[in-house]
């Protein structure tokens, strides 16, 4: 049972990780002059859309969350609306945090907001897919030893890695190398993306190595 689960996790994560480099390559065939650095905003949009749809799709197909309860259409719609609101709020929250970190308030506001959307896609959207709009569950998963399945462990690792990646991505900005990727927010969004991909790959590996120690308490 757990082996099968682990294999499914591997497949899902590799699929999601593979999608990210594709977003950098594939659109170049359809759009003239598309590069990750040159048309960064376009790439951000493509990446957000791609990763977002993939996440939602996988969530619908694999249903990693616990047994689907029978629920009416109305509850489903309200859940969906709640998810949308949560996602939007997380975008705003990330935007606010980025501005507090020193991003310009008025100029390049589009870039900052798209970067916030990217971060939300890497973190909040996953949580919404996995846990639904249930704050208590979120707090449980993100407190120490709170994960109850390998999916939640994977979620923890991916989210942390994405945010750490964005955090480390800010390091090269003050250097005076005058490289195109030092322009705000390219280094940060690239950092977040690399962190996300790394998290997707690290998570199954970590679970594989810590297989024995992982004992999930059923709630």
């Amino acid at each position: 049972m757990r082996d099968a689960e682990a294999r499914r996790l591997w497949a899902a994560n590799l699929l999601r990780a593979a999608a990210v480099p594709l977003t950098a390559v594939v659109p170049a065939f359809f759009m003239d002059g598309f590069t990750v650095l040159g048309t960064h905003l376009a790439w951000l949009c493509v990446c957000v859309l791609c990763v977002g749809t993939l996440n939602v799709g996988l969530c619908l197909v694999l249903k990693p969350s616990l047994p689907p309860k029978r629920s009416s259409v109305a509850t489903k719609i309200s859940r969906f609306l709640k998810c949308c609101i949560y996602f939007f709020m997380s975008c705003i929250l990330f935007h606010a945090i980025i501005v507090l970190y020193g991003a310009p308030l008025i100029e390049s506001v589009t870039e900052t907001f798209l970067f916030a959307v990217l971060l939300s896609t890497f973190t909040t959207l996953q949580c919404l897919c996995m846990l639904g709009p249930n704050i208590q569950a979120w707090i449980r998963v993100f407190s120490k030893n709170g994960a109850t399945s390998i999916w939640e462990n994977s979620l923890q690792i991916t989210t942390t890695c994405s945010i750490l990646g964005a955090w480390f991505g800010a390091f090269p900005i003050p250097l005076d190398w005058d490289r195109p990727w030092q322009v705000w927010p390219i280094s940060c969004s690239l950092g977040a993306t690399f962190g996300y991909v790394a998290g997707l790959i690290i998570a199954p590996l970590w679970i594989h190595w810590n297989w024995k120690q992982l004992t999930y308490k059923s709630r």
């Binding site: 507090l100 970190y101 020193g102 308030l105 407190s143 120490k144 900005i173 003050p174 250097l175 005076d176």
Partner: protein
């Protein structure tokens, strides 16, 4: 010998300060190359002798002057594009016309950093490159003792008149037959400083009794400092300068007919200005200054205007010396600017170049042992030989085309040789005194090691550290090391050919230092031995394992290490404020997460009593116990924590507590946009510039008034009644001081007609500062002598703190007063809503204080460049420059952020003493450690990077900042120890 950790930390930091001082002395050598100007200048060398026996050149006397009169107009902070760029075309029509069509030569002169006035004047007049340390003594310039142009001119009997910046008068006392110095301390004065110069001009230009006239205009520099290079005030000032140039030039031209020799007008800047209007660094705007020679002796400019050629600022000294017929100053590394003498015959031109080359090669001989291998020297010797050949042909009367071509060839050889010589000499200026540097580094590193090794002991609940001084085993090693070190000292000092500071100290001092080094070494070895011994024994107390660290701990460790490593990159030093802002932001978010966890976990835990979560929480509790090695009653703390957290949840200010990190984040973001600092983004518009511009005076006044009221409300809570009143009056005094010097306005007084220096008002505030500090000290003494309850002591400490806040409020520029408000606000919120509820341990609190102190250092507008030091703080309430108070006040104003946070740390920790008796000692130790890690690593980095391109512009100023910070921290630690002393005595009683 047992030492308490506070005493250990203070002692270590004092030793480290000594080490840093020795290192600094070695790193910034005093100009060792300066030969005293001793004997009067003899005649220069004769022309090189033509080959062949017996033939001698018939020209051995000094060449005669080329110009009858020289007027040197030095415009402070005249940037290259103010003359040659669009601004020049727009505002300096006469100069532009002369450059384009007149008889002139224009150059861009490159100034070497530090681009500060005094070193630049020295460079212009001596032709040498003054050492970096000149910046530090910039304001207190003693007379220039090196050989220089002014001295040469005076010795040759030239009459010199000077008007302008009185730095000149201090540098060249008794050199001018007539002078009028203006001080540049009142930076907001744009017109008076220049009118003081110009008012003499008409009279002087009519007279005939002078040979050299020097004018130094300061107005443009002041405009730059206050409003930046793009302000509307720059244009009229440039036009004023242009009119002055026109007046001088026309007057000189009108006299030309009468005399045989033409006159020369030189226009130059001492340094430029950066995009923010300051200077001191090495950005392009700061180092590129215009250099304009105007004389009727030159050929009329024809043909299209070309980009002005780049020359060195030091070249002016040699060129002027040649122009005035004086010997070139001995320490000059400049080369003759050939076009200026281009109108002369080939023989004369060659003679000038030979004189210049001879002087440079002699300077090289005096400074380099292996001068003969220097390529420039070899080139010069070859050129000299061909020069001799040329003279032979010339004396033979050969006057053909061949002679001309050969002459041109020799000229080219000379120019190349001069360039190489000048380059290799300029490189030599950075001669490090490696031996002193190494001694300093060794002391600093040993102290750091000792501190690191004593961490477990010093942070234990006893807070004591065993310093093994007596063990006899080490005494043998100690004496051996002493002997070896002394032998090394003797060998190094006898064999070194260059001057060395450490060798020039008396041998008793040197012996003392050697003994200190060996003693420290033995201490370190014994500490290591003890640790090894302990590790062999079965582990008694739980070892700190990394898994038990909370996120905040990990962040603090990573942040400290990351910051230290970032000091190796010049951009990270330039933008160090970004590092600190980044770190405190992350710290706030980590604290927010901690608060959330504390809050939400317990909320779930309390109603449900869920076993799993309870276990989970216990795990956290245990983890924090392991980490809190300084919590004496580790058994109780868990219960304690649960109880306190529960009450903290019940309390109504739960939500304020949760919101407080966010409020702090917002405060930090606001402060960040108040002063844009650093290098790369320094030109961005910021709130501070907006406030200081003259049209927003009423907004600034409002902000300053509100800030002062806020400061009063934030500070007065814990003061006694007398201090409260004194504080209120003092803050009123601050406002009236700012109103008196014209920074802010009173609402009822709209025309600011009389701007005074505000001496009375400032002294009024000083009286209150002293009064409050005195009351505080009295309380502290009382608590020590009568050993009253600790509340007296904490009131006393808080009063000292509030006295310092008042002093900072007086010294800060009015637009920086919000920094002080936010500082107090953040401290209050952190104390009440974060540290108390979270029960952070002493080490965490100390590191947070240190980080915030660093961030506030940059929030108040400082950077790692010399240019941002607010020198005006040193003149608050003083009639004229008095050295000691000025230095003290400037240092206080610059380091106000870290200092206030450190004193706040002391206040906080001494109020925590009831919970943890050793808190103050631990805090002192951690604070000393936090300071000594970066400084020790930075010294190593700087030694490694001493030939880096940016060593003078980026690394050296930072080194000075670090050094001064160590001294200040040592003083703070002494204060900590004194406070700790009181407490421990009380405990013993």
């Amino acid at each position: 010998m047992r030492l308490r950790s506070g005493v250990l930390a203070a002692g270590c930091l004092l030793l480290q300060a000594m080490g840093v001082a020795i290192f600094l002395r070695g790193f910034f050598p005093m100009a060792v190359r300066a030969r005293p100007r001793g004997e009067p200048p003899g005649d220069g060398p004769a022309e090189p002798a033509p080959p062949g026996s017996g033939a001698v050149s018939n020209w051995s006397a000094m060449p005669p002057p080329l110009f009858r009169k020289v007027v040197l107009v030095l415009i402070d902070a005249l940037r290259e594009d103010f003359v040659f760029g669009p601004k020049g075309k727009q505002f300096m029509p006469y100069a532009t016309q002369v450059i384009e069509k007149g008889t002139s030569y224009s150059f861009v002169a490159e100034a070497k950093p530090p681009t500060v006035t005094m070193p630049r004047i020295k460079a212009l007049m001596t032709g040498s490159i003054p050492g970096f340390i000149d910046v530090v003594v910039n304001l207190n310039s003693p007379a220039l003792l090196d050989d220089n142009l002014i001295w040469q001119a005076k010795t040759a009997g030239k009459r010199i008149i000077f008007y302008g910046d009185d730095t000149w008068v201090k540098l060249f006392p008794k050199h001018f037959v007539e002078y009028d110095g203006t001080t540049s301390f009142f930076v907001s004065d744009f017109t008076e400083v220049d009118d003081n110069v110009t008012r003499h001009l008409d009279r002087v230009l009519k007279r005939e009794d002078w040979d050299l006239l020097i004018l130094h205009y300061l107005g443009l520099d002041h405009i730059g400092h206050v409003t930046g290079p793009n302000s509307p005030q720059v244009g009229p000032k440039l036009r004023e300068m242009d009119n002055i140039l026109k007046k001088i030039h026309i007057s000189l031209l009108s006299k030309e007919g009468e005399a045989s020799l033409p006159s020369l007008l030189v226009v130059c800047g001492d340094h430029g200005m950066s995009e923010t209007g300051s200077h001191g660094g090495s950005s392009e705007g700061e180092v590129h200054t215009p250099l304009l020679f105007i004389s009727s002796a030159f050929e009329k400019r024809s043909g299209p205007l070309t980009q002005p050629e780049l020359v060195q600022q030091t070249d002016l000294a040699s060129t002027l010396a040649v122009g005035l017929g004086l010997p070139i100053s001995r320490n000059s590394v400049g080369t003759l600017i050939l076009p200026v003498v281009g109108g002369k015959t080939m023989r004369e031109q060659l003679r000038f170049l030979h004189l210049n080359g001879f002087q440079l090669s002699r300077l090289l001989e005096e400074n380099t042992p292996a001068y003969e291998k220097d390529p420039g020297y070899e080139q010069f010797k070859i050129a000299e030989k061909s020069h001799g050949n040329w003279i032979k042909l010339y004396l033979e009367g050969n006057n053909s085309e061949i002679l001309m071509n050969l002459g041109k060839k020799v000229l080219k050889q000379y120019l190349e040789a001069l360039k190489t010589l000048s380059a290799s000499l300029s490189k030599q200026v950075a001669q490090y005194d490696m031996y002193s540097m190494m001694v300093g580094t060794v002391i600093v590193m040993e102290v750091l090691l000792l501190l690191l090794l004593s961490v477990p002991k010093a942070l234990s609940s006893r807070a004591e550290f065993e310093v093994p001084l007596s063990p006899s085993l080490f005494s043998l090693l100690f004496y051996l090391m002493c002997l070896v070190l002394c032998a090394v000292h003797v060998i190094v000092c006898t064999s070194a050919e260059s001057l060395c500071y450490f060798c020039s100290m008396s041998w008793l001092t040197a012996l003392g230092v050697m003994m200190l080094i060996s003693a420290l070494m033995c201490g370190i070895l014994s500490a290591i031995g003890k640790i090894l011994e302990n590790s062999r024994l079965p582990v008694k107390n739980p070892v700190v394992s990394s898994s038990s660290w909370s996120e905040v701990d990990v962040l603090m460790l990573a942040g400290t290490i990351g910051h230290v490593l970032s000091l190796g990159a010049s951009s990270f030093i330039e933008e160090e404020h970004q590092t600190w802002y980044f770190l405190i932001n992350t710290l706030c978010l980590a604290l927010c997460q901690e608060l959330c966890r504390n809050h939400f976990l317990l909320k779930e835990c309390d109603p449900q009593h869920g076993i799993s979560l309870k276990q989970n929480f216990d795990g956290i509790g245990e983890a924090s116990d392991c980490k809190n090695i300084d919590v004496p009653t580790s058994g109780n703390s868990k219960l304690d924590k649960v109880a306190s957290s529960a009450e903290f949840i019940k309390g109504s200010d739960k939500w304020i507590s949760l919101a407080s990190p966010w409020i702090i984040l917002i405060c930090c973001r606001l402060l960040r946009s108040l002063n844009q600092t650093g290098v790369q983004w320094a030109h961005r518009p910021d709130f501070g510039h907006w406030l200081t511009s003259s049209e927003h005076k009423s907004e600034l006044s409002f902000l300053a008034a509100v800030s002062l009221v806020m400061i009063f409300f934030l500070v007065q809570r814990r003061c006694s009644l007398v201090s409260k009143i004194a504080m209120a009056l003092g803050l009123l005094g601050v406002y009236s001081y700012r109103a008196a010097i014209g920074n802010v306005v009173f609402p009822w007084q709209h025309d600011s007609k009389d701007i005074s220096k505000g001496i009375t008002e400032a002294r009024f505030v000083y009286v209150f500062v002293l009064g409050i500090v005195f009351t505080g000290t009295k309380d502290l003494l009382k608590s020590q002598v009568i050993s009253a309850d600790s509340s007296v002591k904490s009131t006393g400490l808080w009063e000292v703190y509030s006295g310092l806040v008042l002093l900072a409020a007086l010294l800060f520029r009015p637009h920086n007063l919000p920094v002080l408000v936010f500082c107090l606000l953040i401290q209050t919120m952190m104390t009440k809503y974060i540290w108390r509820p979270l029960k952070c341990d002493v080490a965490q609190i100390t590191i947070m204080h240190y980080w915030f102190g660093q961030a506030f250092f940059y929030f108040q507008g400082n950077s790692n460049g010399i240019a941002t030091v607010d020198v005006s703080a040193g003149f608050v309430g003083l009639e004229s420059y008095v050295e000691i108070p000025a230095i003290f006040l400037t240092a206080f104003a610059t380091y106000a952020g870290p200092l206030l946070w450190a004193i706040h740390l002391l206040c906080y920790l001494s109020s925590e003493v009831s919970r943890n008796a050793a808190a103050v000692g631990h805090g002192c130790f951690c604070y000393a450690l936090m300071r000594s890690i970066p400084v020790a690593i930075y010294i190593l980095l700087v030694t490694g990077l001493r030939y880096h391109l940016f060593i003078w512009s980026v690394f050296s100023p930072k080194l000075l900042y670090e050094g001064v910070h160590v001294f200040i921290t040592a003083a703070i630690c002494l204060f900590f120890t004194a406070m700790d002393q009181n407490h421990s005595q009380k405990v013993q009683d």
